[in-house]
Amino acid sequence: MFVINCPFCGERDQSEFSSGGEAHIIRPKQPTELSDDQWAEYLFMRKNIKGVQFERWNHAHGCRKWFNMIRDTSNDKIHAIYKMGEKPPIV
């Protein structure tokens, strides 16, 4: 069980958060112009990395804000947390 440093609230127990999958997948601005394959790429394809992964998290039982996290899935080490819209820090 991690301790997550919510950028709005500070350190809280993982039980207050929910994970929202891979980060930095941007919803296409013009979906109608995409082929089925391109749309499927956005809709279904997700990486599942053993190692450093960019993830979305939500402080669901707290401030309810979304933010991004860089986490190593092999040892659960959290390398960085940054707000939505911010550039990922280099780790």
């Binding site: 941007i26 109608t32 809709l43 939500n58 309810r64 040892n75 939505m84």
Partner: protein
């Protein structure tokens, strides 16, 4: 209690005799005994039968690693507990314990026949035999269930209280033996907020009863020195000591669970109203693991007889509990530590027959002392067999050959009533690996120890769990490591003078040879699961290579003790047989809990009414008073129907449905989700989340909306009302409210942060009273006379601000029944009052309260869907024949692009249709399958019934269903096959009642 088997012990209160029952017979022990020590003092060794062969088994250890002495505690159907280790039960008045896994009794066990059948019960026997023929499985299952199984579950609810508590600390020290005490003291001295846990009733571990003059700290006996240190610990206000507390799990980020036993040691009568167990949820900045080591058995033929114990356990029974495990004891060892046991026994006047040592010799001080006493030592010998069915009565030994791979010479017979075995030590690395740590193999001592370079969090392992087994090593290294870990310069333990008389000299043979072929012997590895060295070798021959596979195939290490005694030997035998290095082989995974946890401790207070939240509407009391039956909808209790005069559900629903269409019905719709949406981009936001267009909706108007997932599937629906230029109120389904809000927040925060929109849940703030039927207008008019209800001023799908008795309310003219109807939304604290006013105003029109069942029926008559009942996350609006609500003009909305993926445009998707039965009285079962051809095999299923009712307004059965290509099958006759008959049905339109929607304005 046998006087001959008791000696004095200062750790046991020998003035307080405690009666207890074992297998129905009354025995006596002393305060301070465990069930195991008390039984041994009564000369009871035989306590159970083994799992597979039903061999007699005795107490083997004195701790949590006990594989044999697992008992069922208490005969009370609500308190009885299986699989409790007799070595961990502190004796109390009222204790009733029974052997498990034997029938009819431990002394005469019918399953013991398996022992003689054992050549036919090799590894994987169950897998191989019971798999074929498949039709026999039920018979096999019966046999297995009756002959196997560990203990009985309670049959009544547990009346005990369990608790959960959080703790945060700088340093958590796990284990109160000598190294844990040293670490805790250093931490406390450094003013760190420290918690020290130990699973026993007192601190001190094995050193607390070490009064052997061969071991000294600062010229004091170890026991005396340690007692003083423990006494000293009590003066630190920043150190909290928790005994009877065992660490169950070590998770990432130093999050640990520990179970504290609070009443299990008390006399039964003293337990009332006390918390039985507390589960501690600990978040520690730093963790010191000091869990010690457990002694290994030796693996030789018939090493499982009652009377065979770990040598260190025999030592604890004599030194700590004051109990002799036998009167003629032999010792079988591979190392020096068994000689400590010999000296303790000798000091207490117990006869030691002989020592069998597989080593060539040992030059240590402690061995010399034993030799000086004159005890016979058989160097370089091994036990090749033991005898005695219910209790060991002799051992047979032979000389080992040069390599230790076979035996030579003559067989020697030694009689004994107890055999102490010592195969060296296994560090308790379980918690380290649970936390994600990796182990390294120490080839000299043949043990896995924590790899300090691969420590997953702020933690250290100290003492024998780190592989430091000798007193001087333990103290010096614990001191050094803790100092470094806690950033301490000088310590009070820096200059201790330590005397140790043992040497590390050890010989390691994982599987000891016998004069008989392996196939003719029974060298047990896992005592609880009855797997032998033979089984492991068989598994290897059959091609299993991975240790995880061998474990599952032979069940080695899969008992409630998780193979604490057996895993190392299994690994060793695999390594030897396959010629692999043990370090490369790795270990099996140690999973939490370290020792079994009760369900009570896991759930804590979250039982009964505290298991989950229950949500009640503001009118709940009224519903209750008026006889409503309730239905769970998510966490909500919703009125299901209101039976009158002992009506059945069917009768009540028929009456309610008819009343709602004939005159007036009233529904508590408060549980629908309500989201307040404000901001200059609110209209644009709705455009993006709903399939239809919202920009042109006038203020004061309502609109039905369908929300999709990005994959094009229907997610939720509801009516949204425009309250002002930049202000809407959205309603969602009852069950979907929280998810819809989360989804909308997700899009707002992550995809469209540029939109000026704010979402607030107001589900609980407003209550909703829905009044429908041809007389609804008259009723609302009576309640709010100054509100102009004319169709011109207040048409269908519009909204008015109003007030009732001075309380502001929102009135919407929307309908889920197809009838002329109004929804009154009012602040929840006035809602019950307004509900009662509505009942009063509607009295002359026979206003009838109806529940969710009638609501479902009425909407089904109109063909309105319920998301989650008629949809299941695989249906698009087109599948639902709701193309009309999907905007063709809007450039984008959530899910739009998915509506013309190659899969979603298929014509042969399942589509929503109506169904009528040939026999109008036949009501279909929801979920029933629909087929066209009854003779085709395998039968092709075209779809299923999603909603089905008997409509009192149409006087016939109606149903909604999803059917492949259903859109084009109107009029088609199909079948719904049931267990005893096939029901003839016809596909129809989804709207059964008032197809022209005339009643909306009636």
């Amino acid at each position: 209690m046998s006087k001959e088997l008791r000696v004095n012990s200062k750790y046991i209160d020998q003035t307080t005799r405690i009666p207890f029952k074992f297998n129905g017979k009354t025995f006596y022990g002393f305060k301070g005994d465990t069930l195991a020590s008390a039984l041994l003092s009564n000369n009871v060794h035989l306590v159970g039968r083994s799992f597979k062969y039903h061999r007699p088994r005795g107490i083997m250890t004195c701790g949590s690693e006990e594989p044999n002495a697992i008992v069922q505690v208490s005969n009370d159907p609500s308190l009885t507990e299986p699989n409790v280790r007799a070595t961990e039960i502190e004796l109390y008045e009222g204790l009733e314990a029974n052997s498990q896994n034997c029938w009819p009794s431990v002394n005469f066990d019918i399953g013991g026949i398996n022992n003689f059948l054992s050549p036919f019960l090799p590894a994987g026997f169950y897998y191989k035999t019971f798999m074929w023929p498949a039709s026999f499985w039920e018979k096999y299952e019966f046999f297995i269930r009756h002959s196997a199984g560990l203990g009985k579950a309670p049959t009544k609810p547990d009346p005990n209280i369990y608790d959960h508590q959080y703790a945060h600390c700088d340093v958590l020290v796990i284990g109160g033996g000598i190294s844990g005490v040293i670490a805790a003291k250093l931490s406390a001295e450094k003013k760190l907020n420290t918690i020290l846990l130990d699973d026993k009733k007192d601190l001190g571990g094995v050193s607390i009863y070490n009064n052997d003059d061969n071991f000294k700290i600062n010229d004091q006996n170890v026991s005396k020195w340690l007692s003083n240190e423990i006494e000293n610990l009590k003066k630190y206000p920043n150190l909290s000591i928790k005994t009877r507390t065992s660490l169950a799990a070590f998770h990432g980020y130093n999050y640990l669970l520990a179970r504290e036993n609070l009443t299990d040691h008390l006399n039964v009568n003293d337990r009332k109203d006390k918390i039985r167990q507390r589960l501690w949820k600990i978040r520690a900045k730093k963790v010191v693991i000091a869990t010690g080591a457990i002694e290994r058995p030796l693996i030789f033929n018939n090493n499982d007889r009652p009377g065979i114990l770990l040598s260190s356990s025999i030592k604890k029974y004599i030194d700590y509990y004051g109990v002799k495990c036998g009167t003629k004891i032999s010792i079988f060892t591979s190392n020096d530590s068994a000689y400590e046991t010999v000296l303790s026994l000798y000091k207490n006047g117990v006869k030691i027959n002989s020592i069998i040592d597989i080593r060539d010799k040992s030059e240590s001080l402690i061995v010399k002392k034993v030799q000086d006493i004159g005890i016979k030592i058989y160097w370089k010998h091994t036990v090749v067999n033991t005898k005695g069915y219910k209790r060991i009565n002799s051992v047979e030994l032979m000389k080992l050959n040069e390599k230790g791979t076979g035996v030579i010479g003559d067989k020697i017979n030694e009689s004994c009533d107890c055999l102490g075995i010592s195969g060296g030590w296994t560090p308790m690395v379980h918690l380290f690996t649970q936390s994600g740590g990796k182990l390294e193999f120490n080839r000299i001592d043949n043990m896995f120890i924590p790899d300090e370079n691969k420590s997953p969090s702020e933690q250290i392992s100290v003492g024998s769990c780190n592989g430091d087994l000798e007193l001087d090593d333990i103290i010096k290294k614990t001191n050094l490591k803790t100092k470094e870990f806690l950033d301490i310069n000088t310590s009070i333990f820096d200059s201790l003078k330590i005397q140790n008389s043992k040497e590390k000299n050890k010989k390691n043979i994982w599987l000891l040879p016998s004069d008989k072929a392996l196939g003719k012997t029974k060298p047990f590895l896992d005592f609880q699961n009855d797997s032998t060295a033979k089984d492991v070798k068989l598994a290897l021959r059959e091609g299993f290579k991975s240790i995880e596979h061998v474990k599952r195939y032979t069940t080695t290490g899969m008992g409630t003790d998780q193979g604490k005694l057996s895993n190392m030997h299994a690994l060793g035998i695999i390594a030897d047989t396959t010629g692999t290095n043990m370090g490369e082989l790795g270990t099996t995974t140690f999973r939490p809990p370290f020792t079994p946890l009760t369900f009570g401790a896991i759930v804590g207070r979250n039982v009964g009414q505290f298991f989950d939240h229950t949500r009640y509407s503001a009118m709940h009391n009224w519903h209750e008073t008026n006889g409503a039956k309730f239905e769970n909808v998510g966490q909500w209790k919703r009125p299901w129907y209101y039976p009158k005069n002992k009506e059945s559900m069917h009768e009540a629903v028929q009456r309610e449905s008819k009343a709602a269409r004939d005159s007036a019905g009233i529904l508590d719709a408060s549980t629908l989700g309500k989201i307040d949406i404000q901001g200059t981009d609110a209209s644009e936001f709705l455009n993006r989340v709903y399939t239809n267009a919202w920009s042109k909706l006038q203020i004061g108007k309502c609109r039905y909306g369908l929300m999709l997932n990005e994959d094009g599937m229907v997610y939720d629906d509801g009516v949204t009302t425009r309250l002002g230029e930049n202000h809407y109120i959205m309603t969602t389904t009852t069950g979907g409210a929280a998810n819809v809000l989360n989804k909308l927040e997700d899009y707002l925060q992550t995809e469209w942060p540029e939109l000026d929109v704010y979402l607030t849940t107001v589900t609980d703030h407003f209550s909703t009273i829905s009044i429908c039927g041809p007389n609804s207008k008259k009723i609302v008019n009576k309640m709010i006379p100054d509100l102009d209800l004319s169709d011109q001023n207040f048409p269908h799908m519009s909204f008015k601000n109003s007030s009732i008795n001075g309380v502001r309310c929102r009135v919407m003219r929307i309908s889920f029944t197809g009838e002329h109807s109004y929804e009154i939304n009012i602040q929840s604290n006035y809602a019950k009052n307004v509900w009662e006013m509505s009942m009063e105003a509607g009295k002359e029109y026979n206003i009838t309260p109806y529940g969710t069942e009638t609501m479902h029926l009425l909407r089904a008559e109109k063909g309105f869907i319920i998301t989650g009942q008629d949809t299941d996350g695989t249906l698009t609006p087109v599948d639902l024949q709701m193309d009309w609500i999907v905007s063709k003009k809007k450039y984008d909305f959530i899910g739009k692009r998915s509506l013309y993926r190659s899969d979603t445009i298929r014509e042969d998707r399942k589509q929503l249709v109506g169904l009528i039965t040939e026999d109008p009285n036949e009501v279909l079962e929801e979920g029933a399958q629909i087929v066209e051809d009854l003779n085709k095999k395998p039968i092709e299923m075209l779809g299923h019934v999603t909603s089905s009712y008997f409509s009192p307004n149409l006087n016939k059965s109606i149903a909604l269903a999803v059917v492949v290509s259903g859109k084009n099958l109107r009029g088609k006759k199909l079948f719904v096959p049931m267990e005893n008959k096939n029901i003839n049905v016809t596909i129809t339109d989804t709207v059964f009642y008032d197809k022209e929607n005339k009643r909306l304005n009636a």
